[in-house]
Amino acid sequence: MKIAVCVSHVPDTAAKINIASDGKSIDQNGVTYVVNPYDEIAIEEALKTKEAFEGETVAISVGPESNKDSIKKALAMGIDSGVLLKHEGFIDSLGVARALADEIKTLDAKLVFFGKQSVDYDNSIVGQLTSELIGYNCVSVVVDFKLDGEKIICEREIEGGREIVETTLPAVITAQKGLNEPRYASLKGIMAAKKKTIEEKDAAAGENVVEVIKMKKPPVKQPGRILGEDATVVPELVKLLKEEAKVI
């Protein structure tokens, strides 16, 4: 079975985000990019599935040349090959999904893992959109995944609990923290990755329907007051919570 994993290349979560002079994108100055943290979990699950059932794994990414760094990370962790679907500039979630759907069809991958969201635009929908475009089943925000023949049983995280979800292959699974502990790329893995291929082609993304008007920083919150340094100010705090915040 062919197993695909879709990876995005995003600013590190420790990065400070500033707005570029065009007012529509982020300032790249001093921003380092990494493989999306949730995608590392997706990569790990693809590798574990391959180890349990055999098959071939491929990492796909949509974006500029620099996205290759995240594909290489996936290859170093153990994914067999990579595909970069080249695209420059802003692309909406539907565009990313269209490009991925097209490639997944070409590859004929029956099981596709995604991170549950990219930590840049935070849409959390590319996995679902892709599955719907190619007519696959889908379970999102998965914290437990079991494959038994064609049958899939997942646990999906929801508010205050979990849903046990059943479906069948072909399917898209989006990974949530807790699904597994992603492995580190070993030195051997990093060396082996150098010999693996990354195919490059243009992304079949189509037209954006989402138009960016502008990007801006959130309003700066005025720092409040430090009431004191010990428990003697507790009554004052409770009074403020009762009278100003009106939460008690």
Binding site: K16, D122, G161, I164, Q176, V212, K221, E229, A231
Partner: protein
């Protein structure tokens, strides 16, 4: 703008959720502004509080009913909602950005050929165009956007749009029995974390971090959360150390929250954490280090020892409440 506005009502255990009433109120405001009609749709088995939707401004509700639809099924729900949206000629389909809404909205968007905007916190207008704002990078920046497709799917962040006080109006409900739903993907069981409020839905959150020094000290967080009727949260450091489950994590690789009150105990305020909680209405920080970044966003801070302050706080809240 052509078309109606359709709002999806989310039920869990046969009850419409609070976030859906917020969406109904927002939908009825959009409908007024654009002079279009608004109606609501839901999917489920028995639903107890459906007619209350009328009190928030929508008078017509269609209920797709089948006992097998009591639990969520993305294949069945999206087909019913998308077909209904097409049937009534909906131009805007509104969801809440809950775990169900986040899953259902994209399937519905593809099925209705719609563009999609998620997790919206502000709705503005340019003539008849909707100008939508959403937080990106977990709130480190905001994106203003427009969806340029004839049909638009939009999800609204819970706890941001006020549902206001309901009137006594009741909605007219049309029940449509569903004969054979598409249960290709379906929830077969719901496992609840027993008796716990979730940070994503709570009005008050008490979070603990590494400053609590050891997992056994989190009883302080639990006790304070209990007297406040709050959900319990945690910093990434506390989760990564294995002290608390990931479902409690607040921040960029956890949950982004905007409760009325957020209490941070022993949390220094790493950039990822601040991004996830800074839009809370009131923030209280208790931390030993008075230079900790958490005090930059806190309305009220106590720069002292959590082990002394939290027990005193619990006692004082109990005293004031009684």
């Amino acid at each position: 703008m052509a078309g109606k506005i359709l709002v999806f009502l989310e039920q869990r255990n046969g009850e419409i959720k609070k976030a859906s009433f917020e969406a109904v109120k927002a939908a009825s405001a959009i409908a007024d502004k654009l002079s279009i009609e608004a109606e609501a749709v839901t999917v489920g088995s028995e639903i107890s509080n459906l007619e209350n939707v009328g009190g928030y401004g929508i008078k017509k509700v269609t209920h797709f009913k089948n006992s097998e639809l009591a639990n969520y099924s993305n294949s069945a729900y999206s087909k019913l909602v998308a077909d209904f949206a097409k049937e009534i000629g909906a131009g805007i389909i509104l969801f809440s950005n809950t775990s169900l809404g986040k899953d259902l909205a994209p399937f519905t968007a593809v099925k209705t050929d719609a563009g999609i905007a998620m997790d919206i916190t502000v709705i503005d207008y340019d003539g008849n165009d909707l100008i939508l704002t959403r937080p990106i990078f977990a709130g480190k920046a905001l994106l203003e956007l427009k969806v340029n497709s004839p049909v638009k799917v939009i999800t609204l962040r819970p706890n941001v749009f006020s549902s206001g006080e309901p009137s006594n109006d009741k909605a007219e409900i049309e029940v449509k029995d569903v004969s054979s739903p598409d249960l290709q993907t379906k929830v077969v069981e719901l496992k609840k974390s027993k008796g716990k409020l979730d940070v994503a839905e709570a009005d008050i959150i008490v979070s603990g971090g590494r400053g609590l020094k050891a997992p056994e000290n989190f009883h302080l967080i639990k006790d304070l959360a209990e007297v406040l009727g709050a959900a319990q949260g945690a910093s990434r450091a506390a989760v990564d150390a294995g002290w608390r489950p990931h479902s409690e994590q607040v921040g960029q690789t956890g949950k982004t929250v905007s409760p009325t009150l957020y209490v941070a105990v022993g949390i220094s305020g790493a950039i990822q954490h601040l991004a996830g909680m800074r839009s809370s209405k009131y923030i209280v920080a208790i931390n030993k280090d008075k230079d900790a970044p958490i005090f930059q966003v806190a309305d009220y801070g106590i720069a002292g020892d959590a082990f002394e302050i939290v027990p005193a706080l619990i006692e004082e809240i109990k005293r004031v409440k009684s």
